[in-house]
Subunit: 245 residues, 2 copies
DNA sequence: TCGAATAATACTGTATCCATAATTATGAAT
DNA sequence: ATTCATAATTATGGATACAGTATTATTCGA
């Protein structure tokens, strides 16, 4: 018993280790990813029952890895496992949105704050590094302006994600990023996109500009506040979208 | 195919649904819970390899539900799954603590803020309800004082958890609570307990008093700040504990 | 004709089995 | 003696098979 001793003797950082696997991801992980995609695309709609057997057939795999994938998704909160009843796609209520967005605003605000501080620290210490990072943000923002002008919502959406990601990276707190990513996952369940609201693109741009301006002035508190409001403003747009989709 | 249609037609709230299961929890869930206990107790130490077969034998189950449980724990971050290499208990580095605590401070601070606001709102609206909630907090705090006087660290620890839980409940944001719980799970990996530091009990009490006082004055911002500092102060104590354990 | 009890169905949950890949041990060659 | 290659060991990953239970359909009685 216990014939193969632990090879890797020590520290396993849970966050970093996720990307340690250079090898092909396990089947259950691939399946989980496919399922996420389907859920986000609403091919598997919120509240829908997930038929293990037919999905396994469709994927050409057995139920075992599929079930493992479902366990993972359940732990993430994307699906709900009811004992002896099966697996259902999670559904967000309006109340959930009201609770999620303030939390997200808090977290993203902190990211902006930390990023600004980091930027200021780097500028003082390392010199050129900071301006490189900041100009990257400005580049992304320029893309946003372009896509907004072209009314290309999809690209705007992508660039927007990039903007927030870059900011998270700058902030440099992996745990903070993790929580934000976890939280944003849920929002993808709604698929309703506040950017589709008339005038939201322009408004979003203005908010981004405010954030960038605050960062440029190295005013971390202001950056946090603007980001905070930016997220809540997204919630407000979503609410409007609900009554007149 | 798809013979049994989805019975439960619609909204499945991921958070609330977790406790919907009146039925006995699935085996994999029980196993996951046992594993969590072992991990927290350091019977399965950070970095240790998890031998599926021997654990399954020990639990008297097959590997299947055990593996499902491990997938869940991996999604939670308590263990790390390396493809074809097996499963290892996660380990936190000092740097992780430095990143986690500020985030936790942020979240807990928000809880204090929301709870205070809620309290004020209830007082205006419902009347007696608020004072009942607040006196419950004061009761728990009284317990804390007692246990501290008796140098009963274990009970103090328990009451402390209760205090924070009660506050979370008062704040009434399930998503916020969820994130906090998720985050605190990791801290249990360290098992190092800042309360064991000399003088920390008294300090912790003082900080709690400050929080309660701010709440009583319905000063939400102050409550948030005191809570924020309280958490960071816990981190500082932990750091001291590291050099002289 | 409608309701209740019972039988049939099929899905979930668990166990067993097999294939594959990784690691260690063994042996040969430098 | 040390290092590299090869083979044996064994644990992981996946598939299949089976048992138990919830749901649905059917049948019997009122």
């Amino acid at each position: 018993m216990n014939a193969r001793p632990p090879i890797n003797p020590v520290p396993v950082n849970p966050v970093a280790a996720a990307r340690t696997s250079l090898a092909a991801p396990a089947l259950y992980e691939q399946v989980a990813e496919r399922l996420r995609t389907r859920i986000y695309a609403h091919e598997l709609a919120p509240g829908a029952w997930i038929d293990e057997q037919s999905l396994a057939d469709e994927f050409g795999i057995s139920r075992t890895p599929l079930r493992e994938a479902l366990k993972v998704l359940a732990a993430e909160g994307l699906v709900v496992l009811k004992p002896r009843r099966g697996c259902y796609v999670a559904a967000l209520a309006e109340r959930d949105l009201d609770e999620i967005f303030p939390v997200l605003a808090l977290l993203e605000g902190r990211v902006a704050e930390e990023a600004t501080r980091r930027l200021a620290g780097l500028e003082a210490g390392v010199g050129r590094l900071a301006s490189a990072d900041f100009s990257r943000l400005e580049e992304i923002h320029a893309d946003l302006e372009r896509h907004a002008a072209a009314h290309d919502i999809d690209r705007f959406f992508a660039a927007n994600q990039e903007f927030h990601s870059a900011l998270q990276e700058l902030a440099g707190n992996r745990w903070l990023s993790q929580l934000i990513d976890d939280t944003r996952k849920f929002l993808k369940l709604t698929r309703r996109d506040s950017l589709r609201l008339d005038g939201r693109l322009k408004q979003s741009l203005a908010e981004h500009r405010a954030i960038l301006a605050a960062m440029k002035k190295q005013d971390a508190a202001a950056a946090a506040l603007h980001m905070h409001n930016h997220i809540l403003s997204g919630r407000a747009a979503l609410a409007k979208l609900l009554v007149q989709p």
